[in-house]
Symmetry: C2
Subunit: 197 residues, 2 copies
DNA sequence: GTCTATAAGTTGATAGAC
DNA sequence: GTCTATCAACTTATAGAC
């Protein structure tokens, strides 16, 4: 449905980002046209360019905002979890699952659309992802030093744990056989044993 | 470079599939045009339609061939691995890593382009993927019954292990710090411990 | 089996009226 | 800030010559 003319800068911006997020996740960045996004929001295609210089920047900002939110949430969680490696690893495991399952579109885009980023944008997203991975690697190294964990290669274990946890997004559906809390516990059981001394 | 006219049905077909595979993996199905594929092969766009009825079928057949090859390879490996659950799980782990790392483009497409499949094609690929998952789930259930494994939820553990192992493709590069054989051993160590009784 | 030519429609982005 | 109109280029797929 079309909109009447007028000024709506305060709400149109977020609506454009939400519509783009949903459509990019469903159909892929390349398959979605600026006209489709505009149609979803209820404006004409030309109006989008008041909010983003181009389609590429729209994609990049969705991914960067997601990674910023992830790192900010981790910083807050890490402060709560204390210093014990086992407690920190459990906190990381449960928080990763919860944070990612709450943002399926963002997670999907952040993994699938890396190849559609311009090189400088790709480098920035990779930098943020690396910062996230580094926290888990540090937890594992501290646990090894404390004698709690036996992890022959903390970097590889970091990749393995993150891939395993993010995989929840490919199958978990709310209202299914298991509650999210039960899923968290099942994965924590596997992570704990996989790195156990 | 353009090709002169002539008949090349025996080689053009495979070349089209290889070019489409490479381009879809690099840029995404929606971002690749039939002209790009034709250009890579050295024919005009119209000639592609001697080999595929449309772009969608080209994608589907790449994915189906990959899943068929995976299931055939598994059947051959399973025959070699015997009946012991521990031996079968190690065989599955190492073979999954090796098979997937040898086919990065196929794996990328099989995971990323599911959303671009027509519904009936999607259902077929999902059926094949499910058959692959079922083998691992059966291994885990047999290991639990034999007292070798402690796995509270074999279906969830199946998802977790497969996601973890496929994750190797996102970071491993030949000629890097670790050989593929070392990587296999690191992952087998984590899988073994994660499901241990 | 491949070519050229074409149909019919879509694309990202811009210009200027309001 | 949004609209309409527009551009030049691109898209998948087909028809018919060779």
């Amino acid at each position: 449905m079309a909109r009447t003319q007028g000024s709506h800068s305060d709400i149109t911006g977020p609506r454009i980002r939400r519509a783009a997020l949903r459509l990019f996740a469903r159909h892929g960045f390349a398959a979605v046209s600026m006209r489709q996004i505009a149609g979803e929001v209820g404006v004409q295609a030309g109006a989008l360019y008041n909010y983003t210089p181009d389609k590429q920047t729209l994609l990049f900002e969705l991914m960067r905002d997601h990674m910023d939110a992830l790192l900010a949430a981790r910083a807050a969680e890490a402060a709560r979890a204390g210093r014990d490696p086992m407690a920190r690893l459990e906190n990381f495991t449960r928080h990763h699952i919860r944070f990612h399952i709450e943002r399926p579109d963002e997670v999907f885009i952040a993994y699938m659309e890396l190849r559609n980023l311009a090189p400088e944008n790709f480098a920035e997203i990779e930098r943020l992802r690396h910062a996230y991975e580094d926290e888990l690697e540090t937890i594992l190294r501290n646990g090894v030093a404390a004698g709690d964990f036996a992890v022959p290669d903390p970097r590889v274990a970091t990749y393995a744990v993150i891939a395993m946890l993010t995989g929840v997004n490919t199958w978990y559906r709310a209202g299914g056989r298991l509650s999210l809390s039960e899923v968290e516990t099942l994965y924590w059981d596997m992570v704990r044993k996989a790195v156990a001394a």
